[in-house]
């Protein structure tokens, strides 16, 4: 009856946060719950029925005592007609709280037993009712809660996909992630457990109090006198515990960070013989975590025993005060106390304990859920920067003419990254973009599929301003091969098919062949069916780029944007990539952020960007001959490809030897 339960600590350990605008957020939740109002109504009905069953049980047991047991005990010495002068059972009614006068008229034990049996059957009925309503209430609440949660999750996910690249660059992936994972999790806890527990717990306390007060106000006051102390103790200990656990979250964070770093860097640690120092440093962090935890559990360990002790005191007060009153003529400040009432009250005070703990612990859980909801709604309310215009039309099949007209672009207001860029690419041309880091090369590439909007000027494809067409129709005809190839945790086949979901397996394999990726894929354990690890772990940089090329080849776009990898790959793969790209680029308008000499030599136009402006343009040889900015850039960026050995050997350069070698 007085078990604190391990859930207590779990609830106190969790991160909590306070909502800012409770009303608005609740109203917003309300709209989500609206389709489920019949279920919620049932939940309330079951809650009322279940609580009624719970408060009625002690009352019935009290009635058993007053109507059948006490009379039986009294009749042991007063029963039968042979003792004149004794108060009869009927007279005793006045001093008992039995509400069934006919029961007091019974004279034989057999009749009493039968009557009591009937009442116990009622009690069993109440237990069954409590179990059924409890189960249904939990299920219905979970049912509607889970549906709402799913809708919320999908809504957030869809919105994340709608938000522009700009948003994602600005907000860390981890932060966005936690909106759906942590916040949704808190909300789930709240809707499936906390809400029902707080509401039914609160209802139970109020109902019990009401029942006690209607039976006897003074006796109720005695029974409930420890309640404020219980509330105080609970709030005090749980607040302290929460504060202490906040420290443990930090300390376990540093333990994990230390572990992570030292395990990941274990080769370095051993190479420099730093094991002993690292072990010692970890010991300290680890000890700090142990101590923080021990401090925190001092509070959680105190809570349950304190409440339990108060519970026993309440038990004692009810029996002792009630007993005294009974001994002194059953009158207690104007109300009659009987054994039955005492038993009823005993049953009631035992039921106080749990709801108090639950409410205090779960209440903050509900607060956190509201705060989580606030953050989720905040995300959903973020207006995407890039949206289709109301009258946007689908982009007709692209021929491939791209034009920038005096384009300005900025990521942060007032800090233009592109300052009046104008360019024109004929269908089928290859445009190389060169320039130092931060010059604006990537920005130009990002504007073509409308990842960002220009702040001034226009980007035209086949004469259409790209802001006037739908994003989907535009991007569907533009392919991208990015520097850091993103692969999904799926088979190679599906990863390539990502370029065009409708493609048949044969088409996927053909694209892989075109991208020269087939040879390494076929060497994988399960060939095209090999599942790639997280983010394509297990593949080399070069292999990942080949997959990316295959993906783009499958999409068969009219315009291709290519960000060449800067990091080195081994020579064989390098050649494969070159050959694959040549095939891929043929006949398409392409924009290449160039890092390779060969690319830049084959380009129809080389655009040299510096500080957001095109400073030079033309063919490679012409530009080199000019001896201007490009010449210098070439000397610093590309020249080394001839003065050094082209990337070769095992370019991964880690000490981790590949077991294959």
């Amino acid at each position: 009856m007085f078990a604190g339960g391990p859930h207590l600590r779990g609830a106190l350990e969790r991160e909590t946060s306070r909502p800012k605008s409770v009303g608005a957020t609740l109203a917003r939740f309300g709209t989500y719950f609206k389709p489920y109002w019949p279920q919620l109504l049932l939940v309330v009905a079951f809650m009322l029925a279940g609580t009624w069953a719970q408060v009625t049980t002690p009352d019935l047991i009290g009635q058993i005592v007053d109507c059948y047991l006490t009379p039986a005990v009294t009749s042991q010495f007063s029963g039968g007609p042979s003792l004149p002068g004794l108060p009869s059972s009927a007279e005793a009614t006045q001093t008992s709280n039995c509400r069934f006068p006919e029961a007091l008229q019974l004279t034989t034990n057999a009749e009493r037993m039968a009557g009591m049996g009937r009442m116990i059957l009622l009690v069993v009925g109440l237990y069954v009712l409590g179990a059924i309503t409890g189960g249904l209430q939990f299920y219905l609440m979970t049912h509607s809660g889970q549906h709402v949660l799913k809708r919320l999750r999908v809504a957030v996910f869809d919105h994340i996909l709608r938000l522009s690249i700009g948003y994602h660059v600005e907000h860390e992936a981890g932060d966005t992630m936690s909106r759906i994972t942590n916040d949704a999790d808190t909300i789930q806890q709240a809707v499936s457990f906390a809400l029902v527990q707080v509401l039914s717990g609160g209802l139970l306390i109020v109902w019990i109090a009401y029942n006690m007060f209607t039976r006897s106000v003074p006796y109720a006051l005695v029974a409930m006198s420890v309640l404020p102390l219980m509330v105080l103790a609970t709030t005090y200990f749980s607040n302290q515990a929460r504060r202490a656990f906040r420290r443990t979250r930090k300390s376990i964070g540093s333990v994990n960070a230390d572990l992570q770093e030292s395990i990941a860097g274990v080769r370095e640690v051993q190479a420099f013989s730093r094991e002993a120092e690292h072990i010692e440093a970890f010991r300290e962090v680890n000890a700090a975590n142990r101590d923080a935890n021990i401090r925190a559990v001092a509070y959680t360990s105190a809570l349950a025993p304190t409440l339990e002790a108060f519970g026993y005191v309440a038990l004692m007060l009810v029996t002792a005060v009630g007993g005294l009153a009974i001994l002194r003529g059953q009158d207690f400040f104007g109300t009659t106390i009987s054994f039955g009432l005492m038993v009823t009250f005993l049953g009631y005070v035992q039921r106080f304990n749990q709801p108090i703990q639950q409410i205090s612990v779960m209440w903050t859980n509900i607060q956190s859920a509201i705060a989580g909801g606030e953050r989720i709604f905040g995300l959903i309310d973020t207006v995407p920067d890039i949206q289709d215009q109301p009258h946007a039309f689908p982009m007709p099949p692209i021929r491939g003419a791209v034009e920038f007209k005096d384009v300005w672009a900025e990521y942060k207001p007032g800090e233009p990254v592109l300052k009046g860029v104008s360019l024109s690419a004929e269908p089928g041309q290859m445009i190389a973009i060169a320039g130092p880091t931060g010059a604006g090369k990537t920005t130009i590439a990002n504007l073509i599929p409308r990842f960002y909007d220009v702040s001034r000027g226009q980007v035209l494809i086949d004469g259409h301003d790209i802001r006037e067409v739908t994003s989907a129709s535009l991007r569907g005809q533009i392919g991208m091969v990015l520097q850091d190839t993103f692969l999904f945790n799926d088979t190679i086949l599906e990863n390539i098919r990502f370029g065009r979901p409708g493609a048949t397996d044969d088409e996927v394999i053909a694209a892989a062949r075109l991208a020269r990726a087939d040879s390494f894929i076929e060497r994988m354990p399960e060939s095209f069916k090999t599942v790639l690890g997280e983010r394509g772990a297990g593949l080399s940089q070069g292999q990942r780029q080949l997959l990316s090329i295959a993906r783009a080849a499958l999409a068969d776009p009219r315009i291709l944007i290519l960000d060449e990898a800067t990091s080195s790959v081994d020579t064989r793969t390098e050649r494969l990539i070159q050959a694959a790209l040549e095939k891929l680029l043929a006949g398409r308008t392409s924009f290449v952020i160039a890092h390779r000499l060969s690319t830049i030599r084959h380009a129809d136009q080389v655009l040299v960007i510096d500080e957001g402006k095109i400073v030079e343009r033309g063919k490679h040889e012409e530009l080199l001959a000019q001896g201007g900015f490009y010449h210098d850039l070439y000397m610093s960026q590309f020249r080394r490809q001839e003065s050094s050995l082209a990337p070769g050997g095992d370019g991964r350069g880690t000490m981790e030897p590949s077991p294959a070698g």
Binding site: L86, I120, A472, G653
Partner: protein, 632 residues
């Protein structure tokens, strides 16, 4: 402990891993004694309370009856007393003593409530201390072991896996040993205590409730068994949904570039739906099982209520005893719930313990041989004698018959395709692995005969993919020699061409290197790594001379720094650039684990076809047309 005797079908003994974890508690004997001592006292105090409640109620009942009887006319008092089987003196004593008996019992309840509170607190607190101390020890041992396990072990095990062992598995063992075990003992003590008391006071009444007990215990166990896999499945669905989410957030650009939003959305929606369906399935089972378990417990109460009521009516049971019974019954069902939960946790905790000890028992492949000597300061003469090497004792040979000698201060360039064995050769020198055949001698000492510390402290390593640790730049440079002075650190940084960029940070040398070193660019990290190696002033140097994409000026500086670093040391370089090859004293051309050619650049160009091939394909191919255009 007590569980060892086995109280759960199917779990006859505590599994080995757990027994071994329990032995860790021996280090904290006093805390353990305090926890278990408090447990007994707390349970004892708890068991007193229902008895005292009975005392009060009985005192009241007796007092009341006595009062009533003594109020009767004197003529029939005796008769009434006789019917009750009491003497008049006894009745008077009952009447007069009732109030003080009641008060005493009341006071005792308060005393026992306080004792119970204090001891229950001590039990919980000490138990927690015990469990935290256990986790502390396990984590320390794991960490120390992981730090010392050889490279071959780390090749087979991923960081993530080891992390899970040190976090989740340790936590599961902690919860079981620290809390679960204590709870189990408490449950057993409470259960046996209560059952004994009940049987002694009123065996007949106890027998009524007895049949419910095994049923309830079975239910609790079923409950635990059913719940665990269900929750695991929920967890699996949750993490697969989160994977989709994470992929889409991290790969948003790809998703948008290929306009795959609609498809990804339905993929996510499906995963969210699957999760929801599983949650609802769990809810369906729980909404039946949970209330059912409570119903069974309550039926026990109803049975006792009825049987007890009948006994009262027959005059064989007092009202107080009856109340005591219903209080004690709660003490029976709660521990059974606890036991059911703990038993279901036990197999999981055992699996966790086994995984933890698997690491602690892992063999360290490369360690100090007994009687290993400290390697004296070396001159830098290094010899591979017919070295062969394979990973994991099996599989293909990665190196075979590698035989060469490097003289002090020589530079040895290693050249070859991916997987030709270059990395393996350099990994054998500081004994990251041990050669499987042949031997490696430094100044005539077999590297396996000297202590790892003395060997590695004389070898410097700079690799392309540099790992820096969280801490300041200064600490990272001083990584191999924490006792180095500021002057030495600055000198090393200067020589590594790192001094200037370090000073350009507001905090200079005290700039914190954030997680994964993201405050520093690739080129900067590389220079910090060079400074780190320089500070160690090693006689033997191992490096990878490739530079990540940096501008020409920086590259020149790095090259210069590397040249300075190599000067006067025996160096092994995984060669990525032509200048290295041209300047090397020896070039080892590797092919499938064998030395295919060995010599200087000019000789090899003529004598080795492989070398000529690598040379022309990796260098000249790209540069030739370029040179032509330059000349034009």
């Amino acid at each position: 402990m007590t569980l060892r005797r086995g109280n759960a079908p199917g779990h006859p003994r505590i599994p080995g891993g757990l027994a071994r974890a329990i032995r860790y508690l021996g280090r904290y004997r006093r805390i353990a004694l305090a926890a278990y001592g408090a447990l007994f006292l707390a349970t004892g105090a708890q068991l007193m309370v229902p008895q005292l409640v009975q005392n009060i109620i009985d005192a009241v009942t007796r007092g009341l009856i006595a009062t009533r009887v003594l109020e009767l006319p004197a003529s029939i008092q005796a008769l009434a007393a006789e019917r009750l089987g009491l003497s008049l003196d006894g009745l008077t004593a009952d009447r007069n003593g009732a109030e003080s008996a009641l008060l005493w019992a009341g006071i005792l309840i308060v005393v026992f409530a306080i004792l119970r509170g204090l001891f229950a607190f001590s039990q919980a607190y000490m138990g927690e201390r015990l469990s935290q101390s256990l986790a502390f020890d396990l984590r320390n041992d794991l960490f120390a072991k992981i730090q010392r396990l050889s490279f071959s072990y780390h090749d087979r095990n991923r960081t993530g896996q080891l992390m899970v062992r040190a976090t989740d598995d340790v936590e599961k063992v902690r919860l079981f040993i620290g809390q679960g075990l204590l709870m189990a003992v408490q449950a057993l003590v409470l259960l046996t205590g209560t059952l004994t008391l009940l049987l002694f006071t009123n065996a007949r009444l106890m027998l009524v409730a007895l049949p419910i007990l095994p049923a309830a215990l079975a239910l609790f166990i079923v409950f635990g068994r059913v719940a665990q896999p269900l929750f695991e499945k929920v967890q699996r669905f949750l993490s697969s949904m989160n994977t989709i989410l994470q992929e889409n957030v991290a790969g948003i650009k790809v998703v948008k570039a290929f306009s795959r939003e609609a498809e990804q959305s339905s993929r996510f929606s499906e995963a969210a739906d699957r999760l929801m369906q599983q949650q609802l399935f769990v809810a369906r089972i729980f909404s039946f099982l949970f209330p059912f378990v409570f119903l069974v417990a309550n039926l026990g109460q109803a049975l006792v209520l009825n049987a007890g009521g009948r006994q009262i009516i027959q005059g064989t049971l007092t009202l107080g005893e009856w109340q005591k019974f219903s209080l004690y019954l709660v003490y029976v069902f709660i521990p059974m719930g606890m036991l059911g939960m703990i038993i279901s946790q036990m197999s999981q905790a055992a699996a966790s313990a086994r995984r933890v000890f698997e690491i602690l028992d892992a063999k360290i492949d490369v360690g100090n041989r007994p009687g290993a000597i400290a390697l004296p300061p070396i001159r830098g003469r290094l010899r591979f004698e017919n070295v062969g090497f394979r990973y994991f004792d099996s599989g293909e040979a990665v190196l075979s018959q590698v035989d060469f000698e490097a003289l002090p201060d020589q530079t040895v360039a290693l050249l070859g395709a991916t997987g030709s064995g270059k990395s393996s050769i350099i990994s054998l020198i500081p004994r990251f692995y041990d050669a499987t055949e042949g031997r490696i001698l430094i100044d005539g000492h077999d590297v396996r005969d000297v202590t790892l510390e003395s060997l590695r402290s004389q070898i410097g390593i700079v690799l392309q993919d540099t790992t820096l640790f969280s801490g300041t730049i200064r600490e990272n440079i001083a990584f191999g020699r924490p006792e180095a002075t500021q002057e030495e650190i600055v000198a090393a940084a200067r020589a590594a061409a790192a001094h200037e960029f370090i000073l350009s940070f507001p905090d200079g040398y005290e700039t914190p290197v954030s997680e994964r070193g993201s405050t520093l660019s690739g080129g900067q990290k590389q220079r910090v790594a060079i400074a780190r190696a320089l500070l160690m002033d090693p006689r033997i140097l191992i490096l990878d001379d490739s530079t990540s994409s940096v501008d020409l000026a920086t590259e020149a500086e790095i090259q210069e720094a590397l040249r300075r670093l190599m000067r006067g040391r025996t160096s092994f370089v995984i060669a990525q650039r032509i200048s290295t090859v041209l300047n090397a004293d020896q070039i080892l051309v590797l092919d499938r684990g064998r030395i295919a050619a060995h010599g200087r650049h000019a000789d090899l160009l003529e004598s080795s076809e492989i070398y000529a091939g690598i040379y022309s394909s990796q260098l000249l191919d790209d540069a030739k047309p370029e040179l032509a255009s330059m000349e034009a």
